[in-house]
């Protein structure tokens, strides 16, 4: 079934994304060879020198010349970044210094031997990860590799040459490379070079030429290298065609699936699948079916390694749980439209297969429907190992203690039966058998499978010996007793097995329920918590409890990661761990224990990732020494994602708040500008008009009038400026109150004096209660408030009407009232008038609209209140209440 001629949109997107990604990254060029000595490093250095001559800034990150003179000659003249020295168990090892290269920021760096494994203590476990980091920093990298180092080729190479390849690279590196140059040499030429001592120093030539450098080997390797390059070119061609929308021979929609187990044999299956999928242009899944069986630490680790391998080769890893492996595999296959399944050849003997009703392979084949099945062979070494892992015998995991208890129970039951048989004549050996069977079942439920089987064995034998005729011998005379004996044994074993399996299932179910509950609890708490601190605390609690770990959360400060962990963290971080956390934050990838980056750290660090950015880092230190199971890791990942989402939500909330605030500021700003521009222009116009008017000949009276206008306009402008300054000081929070003992009556007098310009139109009556206590306030500011109120009263009440200002004491406050006989204010606006720029509809324009707002700000800064009310007789009353905090110390006559 072929799709139509239009280019596959997914493929297009992937190609475009790859293109875009590559532009920001550095350019990676791989010099590929079939074996050591073909001249990869030489070619690289030659090309690099040419680039340098062209003006490119080239440095050497790490080049291994193997003391070959011609290569060394080429190094001469290129800048070499000194290697980093690491101490390990008494020896000094040298590795490439990534930080130095990053600091140096060259255009191009040469890094030899991409597949190299770094010494312990290096930042990354493998050199190709160092290279990835350099590329991400935008530095171009040239490197060399032999074909034997690629994962998918590793076992083929081993088969051909007999030499196990230790250092491997994931195939995805090839996809990352922008350029792959094959350094090809015919096997004969290479052998000649070897003989001439141009490859290895003379001592090693003999062994090399007879082991690795045999013609057959070299030819095979050469073919592999050529094939690899050809495949890559083919792929590039596909990409190119995808981008140019050239309809090519698109492959059909195949999808492969490989069944992965904890056996080392799975590695080969995975690699095989990858190669197949690559050739078929098909996506592939690696599936692990988790059953209720307990697993040992080593099998868990092997499984994790297998799954990691699948991931690194580009497969999608899926973990499903189920009782029946076949059923689970096929169900998933149908869900995901898998067209081909890869499984291993059956390893059990026929008898085992028969007992189980057929091997897994048989089951799968039989029920596969229209899905193709590939059955792949393992090799002997892995077969042997895996056999041990899959035998149905009970694992010898239960501690000795449990066996002792089981045997004790059986012995007790047997002893009891002995007594009963001897004392109760009609109690026969059949009843005894059944009681012993019951005991075995109980042991299976409460103690474990191993002890149950052991006690089944013991009880059967003791039953035979002690109870079946003839007693106290192992001989059984009656045929039916023989059958009974063997049946008993079989039933005991199977029943024991079954009950213990049920128990395990029940445990698994309970575990799943716990996990689900934990996840639900976390989701619930994070959804309902009001505060990020609460959320983080809840998450840390949960994670700590469920996984038995110590947790640290680090949040960003601006663009950087904070140096100290969040308060809810339970783990302390030392400096080294902090730098690991920082690395994780910057690169968005996990690091630390159980990862490939900085694996010697004691804790593991995960980036808290959201689609937009990294919102923090979580560090986890395991209290137990064993690694988490695949399941637990998946759960942990879910938790971490949840935490990341919550943090992102908080950050977005903050951002929204700030945006709202900014918008409000802008609104005020606009209003202010509008209000002020009018207020400013009026007196300025007046001044300009009057001043220019004075140039003309005018009468003395007119001159006086114009001059008065200029002066009063100047005063008005001055008041406006003072208003604005007060406002800005209040808003910016830079207001400083200088409290000092003041007489309120005095402040009132000064304020009235200041507004005497409006005293022409209004009579101002001052009432001061005698004996008012002194109050600690800022004289100037309170005076300002009173001036504001008086000015308002003057402005808004008709000329000729009186204004009254009074000061009195009420309980522990001083009360100052300003009353006018103006029109008053509608009750609904009584509070609104204190807002900035509020203008009563219908009032004459004039004034900035800030006076009352400033007054309120100043009064409240003193801890007082200011309110407005309508007088029953008509007009406004403003009341200021200032708290009396303490009494002034008494005064004394001077000593004269």
């Amino acid at each position: 079934m072929y799709e139509d001629e239009r280019p596959n949109p997914d493929a297009l997107l992937a190609a475009i994304q790859k293109d875009e990604k590559q532009k920001a990254r550095g350019h990676l060029k791989i010099f590929l060879g079939m074996a050591a000595g073909v001249g990869k490093t030489y070619a690289m250095l030659e090309a690099a020198r040419q680039r340098k001559a062209d003006g490119v800034d080239v440095v050497i990150g790490y080049v291994e010349t193997h003391r070959r003179p011609e290569t060394e000659a080429l190094v001469d003249g290129l800048e070499v970044i000194p290697r980093k020295k690491l101490e390990y168990r008494g020896t000094t090892l040298e590795e490439m210094d990534v930080d130095a290269i990053l600091r140096r920021e060259p255009d191009l760096v040469l890094v030899d031997e991409l597949a190299h494994t770094n010494a312990p203590g290096s930042r990354h476990a493998k050199r190709h990860m160092d290279v990835t980091e350099l590329l991400e920093a935008g530095i171009d990298v040239w490197t060399t590799v032999n074909v034997q180092h690629f994962e998918s080729r590793a076992d083929t190479v081993q088969q051909i040459t007999g030499i196990r390849v230790a250092e491997t690279l994931p195939d995805s590196i090839l996809d990352l490379a922008n350029d792959v140059e094959l350094i090809d040499l015919s096997p004969d030429d290479l052998r000649k070079r070897l003989a001439e001592g141009k490859v290895y120093t003379p001592e090693r030539i003999e062994t090399a030429s007879s082991n690795f450098f045999r013609v057959g080997n070299l030819t095979a390797l050469r073919e592999m290298a050529l094939r690899l390059t050809a495949e890559r070119v083919d792929h590039q061609l596909q990409d190119y065609m995808a981008i140019k929308r050239i309809a090519g021979p698109w492959k059909s929609g195949e999808r492969m699936m490989v069944a992965v187990s904890a056996s080392p044999f799975s590695e080969k299956l995975i690699r095989w699948t990858r190669r197949m999928a690559y050739n078929l242009e098909a996506p592939w899944l690696a599936v692990y079916v988790e059953t209720a069986q307990e697993s040992r630490q080593e099998t868990r680790e092997q499984l994790a390694r297998n799954l990691a391998l699948a991931r690194s080769l580009g497969g999608e890893v899926v973990v499903v749980s189920g009782q029946n492996i076949t059923e689970a595999l096929l169900r998933l296959a149908h869900q995901r439209n898998v067209t081909q399944i890869v499984i291993g050849k059956p390893q059990h003997t026929r008898i085992q297969a028969f007992l189980r009703g057929g091997s897994l392979t048989d089951h799968v084949i039989r029920n596969s429907g229209n899905v193709d099945i590939y059955v792949v062979t393992g090799d002997e070494a892995s077969e042997g190992r895996s056999q041990r892992a899959t035998l149905p015998l009970p694992t010898l995991r239960s501690p000795l203690r449990k066996y002792v208890i089981a045997i004790a129970i059986i012995s007790a039951v047997t002893a009891l039966d002995l007594i009963l048989v001897n004392s109760v004549p009609w109690l026969g050996y059949q009843a005894v058998g059944l009681t012993e069977l019951l005991a075995v079942l109980l042991i299976a439920i409460y103690i474990g499978r191993g002890p149950a089987v052991a006690s089944a064995l013991i009880s059967a034998l003791s039953w035979n010996f002690l109870f079946i005729e003839p007693r106290f011998t192992f001989v059984i005379t009656q045929v039916q007793d023989i059958i009974l004996f063997f049946l008993y044994f079989a039933v005991a074993i199977f029943a024991g097995n079954l009950t213990s399996r049920i128990r395990l299932q029940e445990q698994a179910a309970r575990y799943t329920a716990d996990r689900t509950l934990a996840l639900y609890t976390l989701a619930h708490e994070t959804a309902t918590a009001r505060d990020m601190n609460d959320v983080l605390r809840a998450a840390v609690d949960q994670i700590e409890r469920i996984f038995d770990v110590e947790v640290a959360v680090l949040l960003p400060e601006g663009d950087q990661l904070s140096h100290s962990a969040h308060a809810c963290s339970t783990m302390q971080l030392d400096e080294k761990e902090q730098s690991v956390a920082l690395w994780v934050f910057q690169h968005g990838k996990p690091a630390g224990r159980y990862t490939n980056t900085l694996p010697l750290a004691s804790a593991q660090f995960f980036p808290l990732l959201t689609p937009n950015r990294t919102v923090g880092v979580m560090g986890i230190r395991y209290r137990r020494s064993e690694r988490l199971s695949v399941d637990e890791e998946a759960l942990l990942e879910t938790f971490i994602n949840q935490v990341a989402l919550v943090i992102e939500r908080e950050l977005l909330d903050e951002a929204a708040e700030q945006t709202a605030m900014m918008r409000e500021s802008e609104r005020l700003y606009t209003t202010l500008l509008n209000s002020i521009s009018h207020e400013l222009r009026t007196p300025i116009a007046s001044i300009k008009g009057a001043a220019s008017g004075l140039r003309n000949p005018t009468s003395a009276i007119d001159r006086e009038t114009l001059i008065d206008d200029i002066e009063s306009s100047a005063d008005r402008l001055n008041r406006l400026v003072e208003n604005l300054l007060d406002m800005s000081r209040l808003e910016s929070g830079r207001l400083q109150i200088k409290r000092d003992w003041c007489d309120v009556g005095e402040i009132v007098s000064v304020a009235v004096q200041r507004v005497d310009f409006c005293a022409k139109d209004h009579s101002i009556e001052i009432t001061r209660e005698p004996g008012l206590p002194l109050i600690q306030v800022d004289f100037v500011l309170i005076e300002q408030v009173l001036v504001n109120l008086l000015e308002n009263a003057c402005h808004y009440s008709p000329a000729g009407t009186p204004i009254r200002i009074s000061a009195e004491q009420a309980a522990r406050t001083i009360q100052i009232s300003v009353e006018d006989s103006g029109p008053g204010i509608p009750p609904e606006h009584l509070d609104a008038i204190f807002e900035k720029f509020f203008r009563l509809p219908g009032t004459p324009t004039g004034g900035t609209g800030l006076g009352l707002s400033i007054s309120r700000g100043l009064v409240e800064a003193h801890g007082g209140t200011i309110t407005a009310e309508n007088r029953p007789e008509g007009g406004m009353r403003f009341i200021i209440r200032l708290p009396l905090n303490g009494d002034a110390p008494p005064v004394r006559e001077a000593a004269l």
Binding site: E746, V780, A888
Partner: protein
């Protein structure tokens, strides 16, 4: 009243301020010198020996307070400082450091001329005032007699000391600290509440309308001034 031949030195960097000062003062008969910055001001003060110095506190090159202090190192010439509204603290510092009076920008020419007259009068005065008269109030300092509308007024010794201090500096502003030190002593220089109480008492006894004082003027944030009639 015109003062003839008195020299005024203006130290201000603003051209327009200097201009209107020049015009106003010259029309009142003063002789004017100008300096645009602190150092020029100091050298001209030394050279020209003015009778009054008007010093702007907002000079660009140096703190007005420093100029004042340097002046006071060798001359007691009256200094009137020009400042802006919010600078209470600086005004008080300047007055405590020896400035005679202050003006807040924007100010009118009348105010300036009044201040200059007061400052000059105090600097020229040979003998002490003997009798002070203002409206209905008469104070005979030689006989320690205070009368309002002819009727004697009883003042406590402290109130009298305060009154006498203000009379001795009539027309000039005195800072809280200066008043407290002079009447009560150094230890009391921060006890502002004394002044509130005592001035209230003086106003109560001596002012026609204590709520609208005509004599004892509060200079908010700075101190007090006994208003002169002229």
């Amino acid at each position: 009243m015109t003062e003839n031949g008195l020299r005024v030195l203006i130290i201000d960097d603003e051209l327009q301020i200097r201009r209107f000062l020049r015009i106003s003062l010259q029309s009142s008969g003063y002789h004017l010198d100008e300096a645009v910055n602190g150092s020029e001001g100091l050298s001209k003060a030394a050279q020209l020996r003015p009778d009054v110095v008007i010093l702007d506190m907002g000079l660009p090159d140096v703190d007005g307070l420093d100029v004042l202090r340097q002046l006071r190192e060798w001359t007691q010439v009256p200094v009137i400082i020009l400042s802006v509204r919010d600078d209470d603290h600086d005004k008080v510092s300047a007055l405590d450091a020896g400035a005679d009076d202050y003006l807040t920008k924007p100010f009118s020419t009348e105010e300036l001329l009044a201040r200059i007259r007061v400052a000059v009068r105090h600097s020229l005065r040979g003998e002490e005032t003997q009798v002070f008269r203002a409206g209905d109030l008469q104070v005979d300092l030689t006989r320690r007699l205070v009368t309002l509308k002819g009727e004697p007024v009883r003042l406590t010794p402290t109130e009298y000391a305060l009154l006498r201090l203000m009379i001795q500096h009539v027309g000039k502003v005195l800072t809280h600290r200066q008043i407290l030190r002079a009447v009560w002593g150094r230890e009391y220089e921060n006890e502002t509440h004394y002044l509130r109480v005592y001035f209230a008492q003086l106003r109560q006894k001596l002012e026609t309308d204590p709520a609208r004082p005509a004599l004892f003027i509060t200079e908010p944030g700075i101190g007090y001034r006994l208003r002169t009639q002229s």
